[in-house]
Amino acid sequence: MSVHVMYYGMLAEITGHANELWISDENLTVGKFRSQILEKYPALREKKFKVAVNQKIAEDFAPIDPSAEIALLPPFAGG
């Protein structure tokens, strides 16, 4: 499966791009996706981030379907 992934703020600096197509052999949950992404970008291990699926913060057990929009969000700084 492949899903659309977006990186915001400092996370885009670390990954080197604002978005990419994420290819995976298996069906993904947020938790699985999280471990794959830490493997690809080890520098993310030191950063706090949340994963949004279809514009909602998602827990690790949540499934990701192929049409989902995934976003990696660094700490919020509004205001």
Binding site: M10, A52, F76, A77, G78
Partner: protein, 149 residues
């Protein structure tokens, strides 16, 4: 009274001007059920960092998700407090120190609801809206990423 709370445009490019605030206030003149307005303004501080003094914050956002989050905050605030109206504006792009980046404006027949809603909305924005900020430092392109506490 607004009965339907349509999603509203929250983001504005650059600083929010004092004149914009006064126009918003003036537009409530005809809403004669209002007794209390509470306004919160976030202003950019010239904080001292290890590498120098903050000169501006450059804001970005996951805009679609942020607009949904703002809408949910509006709905929650209207459900929880006796409000006549409510407006939120947040800057994107660069806002220099001393300028305003957040404008939260709630109005109610009574002061208690206005105070409580104002605080509620600001805390919700800080915690739940995907807005990101780069604190620009000095003249040489240095920056640090801001994180709400």
């Amino acid at each position: 009274m607004e009965k339907i709370h349509k999603p509203k445009k929250v983001f504005v490019q650059g600083p929010i001007s004092p004149e914009f605030v006064s126009k918003s206030i003036a537009s409530h003149h005809s809403k004669t059920g209002i007794g209390a307005h509470a306004i919160f303004l976030g202003q950019i501080r010239a904080d001292q960092k290890e590498s120098g003094t903050v000169t501006a914050i450059e804001y970005s956002a996951y805009e679609e998700m942020a607009e949904h989050a703002f809408h949910e905050i509006r709905e929650k605030a209207f459900a929880r407090f006796e409000l006549t109206c409510m407006h939120i504006y947040h800057s994107l792009g660069t806002v220099p120190v001393g300028e305003i980046s957040l404008f939260v404006f709630v109005s109610s027949p009574h002061r208690r609801a206005a105070f409580e809603a104002s605080e509620f909305v600001v805390e919700e924005i800080k915690a739940n809206v995907p807005v990101f900020g780069k604190e620009l430092i000095g003249e040489n392109g240095a920056y640090v990423w801001k994180e709400n506490s």
